[in-house]
């Protein structure tokens, strides 16, 4: 097995009086795309920002470690972090409309990243910025480099953001819902571009999303978070073929898909499946956070949060029923 590029072990993040990420562990191999999936507020963005030590001022990393290329990012000094961010790990944010500095030309903004991390001249940085704009598919990069962000459309701005993110050829790109603010056709273009660049520069991508279609098309592995815990982790193929965790099954069942249309008409006429209840019911739950909403729950689920159990096919699941089917049978028999 390869040495993982990023290894997160038992990372917990809390706000005052509240824990929002309860010890998550996952790893990203060099060059792969890992999707972090979950509904709003499940802690996926907080987890990603904790990796980069960019948490809001009141949030704290409570425990755990984040090993990136041999450095523990949780304990690294701010100086070391500033050397890593933008150079070896970079971030693509959700909102391309507001993520660029409105008063600086885009070429200058890209050039600044390069000059921050590499000892190159202003002119060389400008040339690199123009090359990068060309690389991300912006026509007439020379002219466009001198323009301001408000001269670009949303999709174009996200391309500029990608150019900035890959400017120093990082090992890892964290993309926080990079296409949520874009319309669907642009989404596909932007994600294709990101995937091309990933291959070209041999980068790994942590793709944070709530869009299962995006996961299916662009991710190698998927990690599902629910209420601050990882509930399932699997390579994309088994993830969609045999979802193990009841929450994942619920998510896949709630999606609009062709199978549903084949069964009973169009999504506009057919009622979509839903997961009953809301994520708020996980608060104060001593056992499995999904137990209050779980259709298959047994009394043992309420005892303690299940740990993430590895499965023979390379996936892992945090559900006592899915991990050990005999438990469910025993409960049913008894």
């Amino acid at each position: 097995m390869t040495v993982p590029l990023l290894e997160v072990r038992d990372l917990a993040v809390g706000f005052p009086g509240q824990v929002v990420v309860h010890g998550v562990s996952f790893h990203i191999d060099p060059g792969e795309t890992l999707a972090l999936v979950g509904e709003s507020g499940c802690g996926k963005s907080i987890t990603a920002f904790a990796l980069m030590r960019l948490l809001p001022p009141t949030a704290r990393v409570l425990r755990g470690s984040v090993l990136f290329d041999g450095t523990d990012l949780v304990t690294a000094s701010p100086r070391v972090m500033r050397g890593i961010l933008g150079k070896r790990i970079s971030l693509i944010q959700q909102e391309p409309m507001t993520s660029l500095n409105p008063v600086l030309p885009v070429g200058a903004q890209i050039g600044e990243v390069i000059r921050r991390h590499e000892p190159v001249s202003r002119a060389a940085a400008r040339r690199r910025a123009e090359e990068l704009l060309d690389l991300v598919g912006i026509p007439e990069p020379r002219r466009r480099a001198a323009e301001f962000p408000h001269n670009f459309s949303g999709g174009m701005r996200q391309r500029v953001m990608i150019a900035m993110a890959v400017a120093c050829q990082p090992r890892l790109i964290i993309a926080d819902e990079p296409t949520t603010a874009l319309d669907v056709t642009i989404q596909a273009q932007v994600l294709d571009l990101l995937d091309d660049l990933r291959e070209q520069f041999d980068m790994a991508v942590l793709l944070i999303t709530h869009d299962l279609g995006v996961v299916a098309q662009w991710a190698d592995r998927a990690t599902v978070m629910y209420a601050g815990r990882i509930v399932e982790q699997a390579p994309v193929r088994p993830f969609f073929r045999h979802p193990r965790h009841p929450y994942t099954r619920g998510l896949l069942g709630a999606a609009v898909n062709e199978a549903g249309e084949a069964e009973g008409g169009h999504y506009t006429t057919r009622r979509l499946n839903e997961i009953v209840g809301s994520v708020a019911s996980a608060v104060g739950e001593p056992g499995c956070p999904f137990a209050p909403r779980c259709p298959d729950k047994i009394p043992a689920c309420r005892a303690a949060p299940p740990s993430l159990e590895p499965m023979p096919d390379g996936s892992a699941v945090a559900c006592i029923i899915a991990a050990r089917p005999e438990v469910a049978h025993a409960a049913a028999d008894g």
Partner: protein
């Protein structure tokens, strides 16, 4: 606003920065109040720069018959004051003092205010609390009194006066800059800047300051105007630099003759009003021109 700018962009922003500078020039030509302000200001600056050449010799010298009305003697176009000093020469040399004190005081105030406001707004926490209290402390003291106290403690020389005005004027800038920084620091592009490994000084100077510049420039031009007024007030009260002639001291000297020779007060007063007006117009115009989202560029 941005839609408007987008509409203009293909024509307005084509080409390298040098060409854009030409467009900035052309846009400023379409802004009449800015132009008027600029012309007046440039005339005042020109007179100040060439005062030695236009009116050689010390403006404090008594050169003619006292209290000549303007036009009475071709040699003294704007007349003479009660001691026979040339009013035109005094106005020209006074422009020098007014502008010098005005601009340096504003510069001092801007630097202190921007620094304190930026640190306070960006860092937050106890640093912010401390600096806000300090700012409020300075704001509770009446500005003019503070200037008088500082000048009275030091000597009434132009540098001390400029420093005094600057030190008393910074709280306004600090509050403005702090407010700007507080809102901008939460902006997504600042989060993006942090994610690129930029340190606090770079974020403050490179990322946030350019965004906060427009209101700072406008305030700066108003501060120059205020500093000129304050300096004139000081000189009027005979607390100005006694070795330099200033518009304020000219008004003060002309006051006893207000009923017989009102022009002694009116001319320097008009000069002050005109200069202050021009600075205000220029400040407003710059606000429109420098904002890249205003669509004027």
């Amino acid at each position: 606003m941005s839609a408007l700018a987008d509409e203009h962009s293909p024509i307005a922003l084509r080409g390298p920065p040098a060409q854009r500078r030409h467009r900035l020039l052309r846009a400023s030509l379409r802004n009449p109040s800015f132009l008027i302000g600029l012309v007046i200001l440039l005339v005042v600056i020109g007179v100040a720069l060439t005062a030695d050449r236009l009116f050689p010799g010390d403006p404090q010298d008594m050169v003619g018959t006292p209290a000549l009305w303007p036009g009475q003697d071709a040699e003294f176009l704007l007349g003479t004051d009660s001691l026979g000093r040339d009013v035109a020469s005094g106005l020209a040399h006074g422009a020098r003092v007014s502008l010098l004190v005005g601009f340096s005081a504003a510069a001092i105030g801007l630097v202190i205010g921007t620094l304190i406001g930026a640190v306070s707004g960006y860092c937050g926490g106890w640093a912010d609390t401390l600096l806000v209290r300090l700012t409020e402390l300075f704001q509770t003291v009446p500005t003019f009194l503070l200037v008088i106290v500082i000048v009275a403690i030091g000597q009434p020389s132009a540098p001390v006066i400029a420093l005094a005005i600057g030190v008393s004027a910074w709280p306004t800038v600090a509050r403005l800059v702090r407010a700007q920084f507080r809102s901008l620091r939460e902006a997504e592009f600042i989060a993006a800047a942090r994610s690129l490994g930029y340190g606090a000084p770079r974020i403050i100077i490179h990322e946030i300051l350019p965004n906060a510049l427009a209101p700072i420039i406008v305030t700066g031009s108003l501060m120059v105007a205020n500093a000129i007024l304050t300096e004139a007030g000081l000189s009027f009260l005979n607390m100005g630099d006694p070795n330099l002639i200033s518009w304020g001291s000219m008004i003060g000297d002309g006051r006893p003759l207000l009923r017989t020779a009102w022009f002694l007060c009116a001319l320097p007063g008009g000069a002050i009003a005109l200069t202050v007006l021009s600075l205000n117009l220029v400040g407003d115009g710059l606000n429109d021109l420098l904002n890249p989202r205003s669509g004027a560029v």
